[in-house]
């Protein structure tokens, strides 16, 4: 192997692991040249740590700049950049950060770091003019299978299980509320928050409304599916649709109309033969027949007697 390659391997080692023993005999500069190599070590580390701190200010705000600097230092040693455009360096930092001292790390830290990474990338992206319908309709039918749509380069989809966007908003607005609770998506608190912020149902307390809606949405469809107390089950469902139509999503009236038409049909005509209600009916009818089997006059008996005539 040529000497220059060995030398460069040793210098790289010295920079990323601060171990310069292999270079002791070859360095010149000052009386103790290793001290000079420290300048390059510092440049390597400081420039990249600074780059990471500039790229993840919200993450630094979250965990404190001392902890952030420490992890950034470890990261630049373990993961040197793969190419010279430092603006692209650091996409793996959030994973690395979350893996450090995993027990002490908040469970949402990685997702928050990833969100911040994407926010940074989006901030330097250029949005191209949106495609107009007129440009799409003029594509011939035979060319359609070959058509590929490209999303805006400034568009990112970030999947998160925590409401880290709310946390990011707190950072970006710079005015933290007195009390902030970070919610986990799919959690009960998040459902209540939806009723508070998004649905804004009047009169009812959001927590009550959420519980009411949850109980109804979980039980009534089951009743409708098996056809048990069908007519009774449609009434609260229709009530809920009326509330949503009136107070929450007035524009979604087409869906509401479709749902209501089915429910109204069930309400007025009953569930039909494929239902538990039908079995119940039959059971009680048979019961009544047995009970009224003597001389008592009931409708069935009437029919029977007519037939006998």
């Amino acid at each position: 192997m040529p000497a220059l390659a060995d030398l460069q391997a040793d210098v790289r080692q010295a920079l990323t692991s601060c171990d310069a023993t292999a270079l002791e005999s070859v360095l010149v500069g000052g009386r103790r040249a290793q001290g000079r190599l420290a300048i390059h070590q510092r440049h390597y580390e400081a420039s990249l740590v600074t780059a990471l701190l500039e790229k993840f200010p919200a993450t630094a705000w979250l965990i404190g700049s001392a902890a952030m600097t420490q992890v950034a230092r470890a990261f630049v040693r373990a993961h040197p950049p793969g190419h010279p455009c430092i603006a692209e360096y650091g996409s793996e930092f959030p994973i690395f950060l979350a893996a450090q001292d995993a027990e002490a790390t908040p469970p949402y830290l990685q997702q928050f770091g990833e969100l911040e990474w994407h926010v940074g990338q989006v901030s330097i992206a250029i949005s191209e003019p949106a495609l107009a319908w007129s440009q799409i309709v003029c594509v011939g039918a035979d060319a359609l299978p070959g058509v590929r749509f490209r999303l805006q380069s400034g568009l990112r989809y970030v999947h998160a299980t925590w409401a880290i966007d709310d946390l990011m908003k707190v950072y970006l607005t710079g005015s933290p509320p007195d009390l902030f609770t970070l919610l986990k998506y799919n959690s009960w608190e998040f459902t209540v928050k939806l009723f508070e912020d998004e649905y804004k149902v009047p009169l009812l307390d959001p927590a009550v409304a959420a519980r009411l809606a949850m109980v109804q949405e979980l039980t009534l469809p089951v009743l409708l599916f098996v056809g048990l107390a069908t007519r009774a089950a449609t009434v609260p469902m229709l009530g809920m649709i009326v509330v949503i139509q009136t107070f929450v999503y007035p524009n979604a009236w087409i869906e509401h109309l479709v749902w209501s038409s089915i429910l109204v049909l069930l309400l007025t005509r009953g569930p039909g033969i494929l239902s538990l209600d039908h079995l119940v009916d039959r059971y009680f009818a048979a019961e009544r027949r047995t009970l009224g089997g003597g001389n008592q006059l009931d409708s069935h008996a009437l029919v029977d007697s007519r037939r006998l005539k």
């Binding site: 391997a9 360095l27 010149v28 390059h40 010279p84």
Partner: protein, 297 residues
Amino acid sequence: MSHWGATADASARRTPRNAGVGLRLPHLAEVVATRPPAAWFEIHPENFLANPHAGELLQEVSQHYPISVHTVGISIGSTEGIDRAHLARLRGLVDAIDPVLVSGHLAWSTHQGAYLNDLLPLPYDDETLAVVGAHLSEVQEGLGRPYLVENPSSYVGFGTSTMTEAEFLCELVRTTGCSLLCDVSNVYLSAHNMGYDPYRFIDALPIDAVHELHLGGFTSEADEATPGGEVLIDTHAAGVAGPVWELYAHAVRRFGLQPTLIEWDNDIPAFSTLMAEAVHADQVAATTHKESRARAG
């Protein structure tokens, strides 16, 4: 509003003789909006390649000013070779803005896929000469234009060197026919750090090969290698120091009026401060040039 691909100002194509300034991201929007009377700009392409928004603004700047592309990411001295992907990206940028000069450093920064984000020193011997020479041809071919090689800022060297830095640069020019970018501040601080005479360094460089000069600020700090001594760090975080202006005058005497750049990359001041440094460089160059012509005439 200018259109992409619109005809550039005629002045944007001429190689400038006056001093230009390094265009850094914090000044980009201001330059696009106010069009200051700068003679030309030099950019680090790595700051623009990964930043589409900045790239778009640069395109606009390049319609009105001569641009010089000064890369920090082409690791011309790495034994493992040139990063072809980066070279291709650079070619794209160079084709888009058609710079008047393209340059980079006599240094290395990549090793086995890792980019070490610093300009690292090379031993000056025949092997390095062969490596740098081969890569230089590859870069010039890849970019389709000449690539000026800049003398590095040195803090540490190698006992295995068989040539001085100036001798190495002379050999490089002789074997490859390349041009040089003489960073006067680097000459000054490297001479201080490594213990040689900066004037003799300038005098040793081939007179016709130097086609650009750089001036930047350095920072002095305690030298870990020499107790009680100080080492000069090429921070580009200050104005040009007095002794460097004197050395610059010497460089103008030797190389004539060459496009000179004011570099300021850290603790970046107001744009007007950079312009004032450029004006000062022009004054020093003009006075020196007049004097030396009078002496010659």
